[in-house]
Structures are given as structure tokens and as C-alpha cells.
């Protein structure tokens, strides 16, 4: 009997432990197309570098090089005396006695439980010895026992929320490969190239602003599986998730770029190639590579990492600067039949040439979708006809007759899509020769498409093979 009981308890414990699971480790890009051409020892260097600067989700490192609003501490309020809060930090929080009181002045304490959950309390100061915060306002009064995140610790709070709401699609490391991802079309975003499709910033290199991410979380992306998370998630929760996503994107991009840097010097087939050329022994050359890499780790690696991170940080910071968001030169040109007509001419014209992808009937089945496209990164042709994005996933040009606009339906959203293109996809930005008022004509035309048939009647009769706009194509 007792043995039976014991085995039952052990069995239950195992089952419960299994529930906890350790699915929370970052995956490295071992098998991706980018990692494969890199020598395995160089890959290991990238991996250790990442572990050093980012850590793991449960044990993240605040790398101050990056423009992420990290937090410092979390814990519980143990006593309240007028404007003073006595607190107890939890085990994860580093020892705060060493911190300068000034570090917390002017920051906020975010409550994560209790009746005032998600409300922030402005802080005047912190006393490390007595572990007390001085509140600078009494607008929100917490209760004893309330949990909080102070000086931020936004990243840890963000990780928890990300794990609950985002991870099952976007994956632990933000690689867009969570357990539910394979059932979705389009696939969830892989943040690791630091590319976000629908941003307000310029150019293909423009990063997403915090407001862009907040807007996507609030509005969702119609036509995809990304739902809207407001009002379920409150403002403070969105902030935490946004910082965590930025952190994941930066981590991924550092990984991506380091691998790219190692690709030429430390190719995975370098030993084989050199042995062939010089007639030397492969194992000798392997040894040579090993010592060269060790030398580099000692002398040049930290500079390289700093450079990569510095560049990346500059871009993310630039996205937040005033003026980074694209504001049209002109206010919207009034929506009139004439304006739509001008837009229509542009749509079908040679300069903008929207019709090439979006098709004669704007159903997203233009001639280009029948062509075999070239992978711009590898220089090879894709195996199947159609368009592909930077994640090597097939994409279709938007069917503009449906009135579903993934990046938002405001005129400004459409304007930004047209002028800047959609990052990571074959949708290019409009050529500079097209002026602001002409873009607005295009916007007016695009917004009118769902409500009238845009295809000129004669056009379908003269349509080139494979370009007949009326037929839907199943690719």
C-alpha cells in the first residue's frame, strides 16, 4: 500500500513538474539559413556573447547599451506611513542597498496587484537602508500587501505578460515560432531581424516606435491572427510588453548581425575549402581557425559587439526622436472623383506601377505574383512562383477590394504604407518623384476601391496572359 501511495505521489509530482515545463529557454538560430554557413565554433561564440549580454528569459541581463527601459526591483508593500512606503523586495531583485537614492527619484512605482493594479505612484526618493520609498503624490494610495514593480523592473513584468499572452505564437525568443504558430497564416512576426511591418518611421531600416507597437497591441492587425489586447491589458501592462518585445527584437538582431559578421571569415566549410586549395590537412586548418577565433575573442570581439549594439541602439533611439514618424508634407487632398481619377492613373501607371503586384482589379494577383522571384539575400531564385518576404514566407499583395487594411485604415496609415513600403516585404516605398499630393490621390483611390470596380472594362479584354484581374489565383 505504502509503495503504491509513494509511486502515486511521485507520479503526480512528475506530472505537475511537467506542467511547469522548461519551455522558457531562448532558442538560438542553430538551424536557420543564416547560422548554417557559419563555423560551429563561431556560432558558439555568438551564443556565449548573447548569454553574457542578454541572459535567459528567467535570468535576463540588463545591458545598458540598449535603449530598453529596464526595471530594477519588485516586491511587496509591508507598511504605509503617510507618504512613506516600507517595502520588502522579492528574491529575484538585486540588493538595492547599494543603489543611489537619486536613482529612484522621479521614477514610478507600478502596482501589479490589489485594487489599484496597474496604477503608478510617482516616487520622490528611496532609502536603501530602511527600504522605504517616499511618494511624491497621494493620488493613488496602495494597500499593505500590494505587489509592485519599482524603478521599472519592467522587463520582468513584461516577460510574465509576454509568456501569458504572446509567447504561444511569437515564441520564447520572439522567433515567431511558438506552438500555435504553425497553424497560422500569415505566420506570427519573427522579431529577430528587428523588422516590424507596420511602422510610422521612414525607410526600410526604420524601427518601430513604442507608439507603433502600442497601436498594434491596441488595434490588432485585421486580416491576420493578431488580436487587439485592449481593454484586457491595461496601460502599464502594455508598456511592460512593449519593452520586452523591444528587448527580444534587439537580442535577435544582435544574434543575426554577429552571425552575419562571422559568415565570411569563419564559414562552416572553410577548413575543407582551404585544405583543397593548399593541399594541407583539414585538422590542421581547423586548429588554425580555432586559435584565430580565440585570438579574436580576446582582442576584437567586445569592440565588434559594442559596434553592433551601438548601431542598433542608435536606430531604435532615432525611431523615438521627434520627426522620425512620417508626417505628410501636405494635408490630405480632398477626396473627389478627380483626385481618385489621378490616383487611379498612378495605380495603373508606369511610375508607381501598383498594378504589377496588386493586379488589374486590385485583387492582389498582379503579374508579379505569377513570376519566380529572386531571393535578394542569397541571390537564388525561389523554388515556387510568387512573392516572398524577408522571413522566406510566401506573401500575397493585399487584395484592396476587401477593405481590410492590416496597418490601419486611417489615411495616414495608407499614406505611410505607400510612401515607406511595408518593411520586410516586397512592397516598396513609392519613388521620390511621386509628390505628396499625388500620394494622397493614390490614398483616395485605394480607399475607394472596395466600393467601386476599379478595373477598366477594356483592360480585362486586353489582359496579358496570367494577368487577368477577374480570376482569383490560389497560390
Amino acid at each position: 500500500m505504502s509503495v503504491r501511495w509513494q509511486s502515486l505521489i511521485v507520479g503526480l509530482a512528475c506530472a505537475l513538474a511537467g506542467c511547469g515545463g522548461d519551455g522558457s529557454q531562448m532558442r538560438f538560430v542553430e538551424n536557420s539559413t543564416l547560422a548554417k554557413p557559419v563555423h560551429r565554433k563561431a556560432r558558439a561564440v555568438v551564443k556565449t556573447t548573447l548569454e553574457e549580454h542578454f541572459g535567459a528569459p528567467l535570468n535576463s541581463v540588463a545591458w545598458l547599451e540598449l535603449p530598453v527601459k529596464y526595471g530594477r526591483a519588485e516586491g511587496k508593500i509591508t507598511a504605509i506611513d503617510d507618504q512613506t512606503l516600507s517595502v520588502e523586495f522579492n528574491a529575484e531583485t538585486m540588493d538595492l542597498t547599494g543603489f543611489d537614492a537619486a536613482e529612484f527619484a522621479g521614477t514610478e512605482l507600478l502596482l501589479t496587484s490589489g485594487t489599484n493594479q496597474e496604477k503608478a505612484i510617482p516616487l520622490a526618493s528611496f532609502d536603501g537602508k530602511t527600504k522605504t520609498f517616499e511618494m511624491s503624490s497621494l493620488a493613488v494610495v496602495p494597500a499593505v500587501g500590494d505587489q509592485f514593480v519599482a524603478g521599472g523592473n519592467v522587463l520582468k513584468h513584461g516577460r510574465k505578460l509576454y509568456a501569458r499572452h504572446c509567447q504561444h505564437c511569437h515564441g520564447v525568443s520572439g522567433d515567431g515560432d511558438g506552438p500555435t504558430a504553425k497553424y497560422l497564416n500569415p505566420r506570427p512576426r519573427d522579431y529577430r531581424q528587428g523588422k516590424f511591418k507596420f511602422t510610422s518611421t521612414a525607410g526600410p531600416a526604420g524601427k518601430a516606435t513604442r507608439d507603433d507597437l502600442r497601436r498594434i497591441l491596441g488595434q490588432g492587425i485585421p486580416g491576420t491572427y493578431m488580436p487587439a489586447f485592449v481593454p484586457m491589458l491595461k496601460d502599464g501592462e502594455l508598456t511592460a510588453i512593449i519593452e520586452y518585445v523591444r528587448w527580444l527584437a534587439m537580442r535577435g538582431e544582435v544574434e543575426w548581425q554577429l552571425l552575419g559578421q562571422f559568415k565570411d571569415e569563419y564559414a562552416s566549410d572553410r577548413a575543407k575549402k582551404e585544405a583543397k586549395e593548399s593541399g594541407g590537412k583539414e585538422s590542421e586548418i581547423e586548429k588554425q581557425i580555432d586559435s584565430q577565433l580565440k585570438e579574436f575573442v580576446k582582442s576584437g570581439l567586445s569592440a565588434l559587439v559594442q559596434e553592433v549594439a551601438g548601431d542598433l541602439a542608435d536606430k531604435w533611439i532615432a525611431a523615438e526622436e521627434e520627426g522620425a514618424a512620417i508626417i505628410p508634407e501636405l494635408a490630405r487632398v480632398a477626396d473627389s472623383p478627380e483626385s481618385r481619377k489621378r490616383g487611379k492613373d498612378l495605380f495603373y501607371g508606369k511610375v508607381a506601377n501598383c498594378v504589377n503586384c496588386h493586379g488589374l482589379a486590385a485583387k492582389g494577383n498582379g503579374a508579379q505574383t505569377e513570376d519566380v522571384a529572386k531571393n535578394l539575400r542569397t541571390g537564388e531564385l525561389y523554388p515556387t512562383p510568387g512573392l516572398f518576404d524577408d522571413w522566406d514566407q510566401p506573401v500575397k499583395p493585399r487584395d484592396l477590394t476587401r477593405g481590410i487594411y492590416r496597418g490601419g485604415r486611417r489615411p495616414i496609415d495608407i499614406y505611410r504604407r505607400i510612401t515607406q513600403g511595408i518593411k520586410g516585404t516586397p512592397m516598396p516605398g513609392a519613388p521620390k518623384t511621386i509628390k505628396s499630393d499625388e500620394i494622397w490621390d493614390l490614398v483616395n483611390f485605394v480607399l475607394s476601391i472596395p466600393f467601386e470596380s476599379p478595373a477598366p472594362k477594356t483592360a480585362s479584354a486586353h489582359s496579358i496572359a496570367g494577368q487577368s484581374g477577374e480570376k482569383g489565383h490560389a497560390n
Binding site: P227, A228, P328, R332, R409, P411, I412, Y415, F451
Partner: protein, 274 residues
């Protein structure tokens, strides 16, 4: 041991009644009084049924307890076998039937008002205020556009160029019957407004009208009540009941936001919202 069983069968009905009686104090009951009058009538029907079943429950439990008690105190008396009593059987068939028939007839007007379109208030039926489309995993809402006086136009079944869109945030005016059209984009969902006692499945391919007349302003939960997939819990939206002026201002703000071109300030009216 005999006493124990008497006590056991008396304990549970008493515990059940005490539990029900204290429930409202701990918020284990309805989420406050209904925001609509129709919801109040639905609650009344619920209470009527609750009273009937409570009476039956107490009666049967008392009878059971009495039998046990009597048997535990009397060793002489023995149970006897019977083929049944025709009269008793008629009584216990007819009485519940009458009760059920009474309930079926008594609730008919509430049901008709709640579900039968021809009984809906005319003004609600003729001018649906919005279309709500359930989707994995959010509520997409479409209001009709506003005319030059800022008055909402008629809501068409097909999207119109000036329609106003929002997500997870349904605003309705207070004090007049409003109707929404419920649709589903993918699977079956259920439009659940617990504070208004409204629950209606959203079925792909169907447009299902729902009407209500909110009597009290506030911010109420709108949840999905049909397990619709792994993200079911994400379908947590809000219903905001506000004064007519605020509702109109909200639509104006929505229009301003939706027409934002980078130059006009989005939602000049937004201050009212804060």
C-alpha cells in the same frame, strides 16, 4: 448511526439555503442589478423559478428528514410494499405540469421582447446602432458614418465608405433602445453582457439582431461565452453606456481619428474622454 443519517440529510438543505442567502454579500450572485429593465424581468423570472424550486426542495428534504427521523425512533413500525397509488401519481404528474405550463406562458412576453424581432421596439429595430463582428479573438465594431449634422446615418449590411470602425470597445447611448447586429467571421462565439443579462451566440453566416435599453451609465464587461479556440479568454471587451451627448461626441472623435492625415489633430474632442 441512524441519527447521523437524519442529521446528514437535514444538514445539506440547510447548508444550501444559507449559502444561497449569503451569496449576494460576497458577490457570488448576479453582477449587481440589471442595467436594463428587460434584464430585471429576466431576473424576476429567475427568482420566480428559484422560489418554486426552493419550496419543492425544502418540502422534499423535510419529508425525507421526517421519514428518517420517524424510522430511527420507532423499531416497531416496518416499511411496507406498495404497488403505488393512482391518485398520488396523478397529483405529482399534474401539479408539475401545471407549474411548467404556467412558466411557459408567463415568460412568453419576456421571451418575445428579448428574441422575436417583430416585438423589438420599433426605433431600435429600424436603426441598428452598430454591427459587432466576433473574430478569433476580438470584437470588431462598425458604426454607420455621420451626416453633415453629425447624426449617425443608417447602418447598411454592407460596409460603406464612411463607416466608423473600432475594436473591443462598444459605446451605446443611455435611455433609448439600441439594436446591434451580431456576426461572426470564423467560428461560433457568444456575445455576453452579464450586467445586462444578455447572451447570444454569434453564428458564422448569420446576422443576429440583439437589442437592449441601458438605464444606467457605466463601463460593463463584454465577454465571449462560447469556447472559441485557444485565445477565447482574449475576447474581453467593454460596453460603455453613456449619455447621448457623450455618445455623439464619441462618434465624432472616432470619425476624427479615422480621418487623421497627420495634420488635423486626431480627436480634438478627445479631451471629453479623459
Amino acid at each position: 448511526m441512524r441519527k447521523f443519517w437524519c442529521g446528514f440529510f437535514i444538514f445539506w438543505p440547510i447548508a444550501a439555503i444559507i449559502y444561497s442567502a449569503v451569496s449576494p454579500q460576497f458577490n457570488w450572485w448576479f453582477p449587481g442589478p440589471s442595467v436594463t429593465e428587460l434584464g430585471q424581468r429576466i431576473d424576476n423570472l429567475f427568482y420566480l423559478i428559484l422560489i418554486i424550486v426552493t419550496a419543492v426542495f425544502i418540502g422534499t428534504q423535510v419529508a425525507l428528514g421526517y421519514c428518517l427521523w420517524r424510522a430511527s425512533h420507532n423499531k416497531e413500525e416496518r416499511a411496507w410494499f406498495t404497488h403505488g397509488s393512482h391518485n398520488l401519481e396523478v397529483i405529482w404528474s399534474v401539479v408539475p405540469s401545471v407549474i411548467l405550463l404556467f412558466l411557459a406562458l408567463y415568460q412568453m412576453d419576456v421571451w418575445a421582447l428579448y428574441r422575436v424581432q417583430s416585438f423589438f421596439p420599433k426605433e431600435a429595430r429600424e436603426a441598428p446602432v452598430a454591427e459587432v463582428t466576433a473574430r478569433q479573438f476580438e470584437w470588431r465594431i462598425r458604426y454607420p458614418g455621420l451626416d453633415e449634422h453629425g447624426v449617425p446615418k443608417k447602418l447598411h449590411l454592407k460596409p460603406q465608405p464612411d463607416d466608423l470602425y473600432t475594436v473591443n470597445d462598444l459605446h451605446v447611448p443611455i435611455g433609448r433602445p439600441v439594436m446591434i447586429n451580431l456576426r461572426s467571421d470564423d467560428v461560433q462565439h457568444s456575445f455576453f453582457l452579464p450586467h445586462l443579462r444578455i447572451k447570444q451566440d454569434a453564428i458564422p453566416g448569420q446576422i443576429i439582431p440583439i437589442w437592449f435599453k441601458p438605464e444606467r451609465p457605466g463601463n460593463f464587461d463584454l465577454a465571449c461565452a462560447e469556447l472559441c479556440g485557444w485565445g477565447h479568454y482574449k475576447m474581453r471587451a467593454q460596453l460603455i453606456v453613456e449619455r447621448e451627448v457623450e455618445f455623439q461626441a464619441y462618434l465624432q472623435k472616432l470619425r476624427a481619428d479615422q480621418n487623421y492625415d497627420g495634420h488635423a489633430t486626431p480627436s480634438a474632442v478627445a479631451k471629453k474622454d479623459e
